[in-house]
Symmetry: C2
Subunit: 185 residues, 2 copies
């Protein structure tokens, strides 16, 4: 699905707005392993994954921690950097060859001002991501490693074969050894 199709599934898009989107959305193709953002930069773009998988990660005590993984039809960005226009705390990298559609923070603000209907888009997308984040917080705080793994397996089974195990382990907050043992059992 293209970003425009995704947007059309959420709000009504007039011809004028569609033209505006077409002018603002940038399509980029990146090879697996490409770094899109690193902590010295400000993350000015909201990425929409058309094909492929990207992930956001950072280092904590020299350990690499995957903070989020976005696949087809999902958004990814370093929200903190993007929303506050400050330096990113994360790296964003392509896990596979990717086709990404991107919209810049400045263009998004212009859209909000010129087409109030896009405010709804912002709200609806944020509601969805807020609920997912809350779910993840509760899961990390209170669910056993096994439960977290099963939840991931149920909700994102395809990612198990597309994303290196180590990334999934740190995303779930469990060690790679434990995760390997779970997969084998």
């Amino acid at each position: 699905m293209s970003l425009l199709q995704h947007i059309k599934s959420l709000i009504e898009v007039s011809d004028a707005l569609e033209m505006q989107f077409s002018n603002m959305i940038q399509l980029q193709q990146h090879k697996k392993g490409t770094t899109l953002i690193s902590p010295v930069q400000t993350c000015n773009y909201l990425y929409f994954v058309k094909t492929g998988v990207i992930r956001g990660y950072y280092y904590c005590d020299e350990k690499e921690i995957t903070n989020w993984i976005a696949k087809e039809n999902e958004f990814g960005t370093c929200f903190y950097s993007f929303l506050k226009s400050i330096k990113s705390t994360e790296y964003i990298k392509c896990i596979e060859d990717c086709e990404l559609e991107m919209i810049s923070f400045n263009d998004l603000q212009k859209l909000y001002n010129k087409f109030p209907v896009t405010e709804k888009l912002g709200r609806v997308i944020l509601e969805d991501y807020y609920l997912k984040l809350e779910e993840r917080l509760l899961s990390i705080q209170f669910k056993e490693a096994k439960e977290r793994y099963l939840h991931f397996m149920t909700n994102k089974p395809d990612l198990l074969n597309r994303v290196p195990l180590g990334y999934i382990a740190s995303y779930l907050g469990i060690s790679q050894e434990t995760l390997s043992r779970m997969r084998a059992s």
Copy 2:
């Protein structure tokens, strides 16, 4: 600050919209200890704390866990229940005598439809709460108990004297004994 004043600090409010808000916002006064929502109910209201403190909590393995605390000028609700119109997973209770301004989910949807500018309100408030939630997730995952306590002390020093220690401990994901030791040291 009243909810209307808070809203006016975020978006432009026309006379027509102000009148609509006045009709929709309900003011309630509750005694300390009052239960506003329990898990058998759907949480149909977004609460804005005019005075007092409220908290959301739930039980996990028979242990009470404080999920959020909202004081003056902050919003509180069981977001999952509110946004999805499903049964709450949380209790919401007044920690102090409270004056609360409330707006119902249905009224909010009417507002979004009738006054598109309120979509911006929804987006801006959600952006703020999203960033706070992400910060909390990272803090629970990767910061030491001591760091989490110091962060809370720096950002919400007044709550330390207003909220029972046990609530703060479970909110921070540390035991009450550890928290007491930190406070004493």
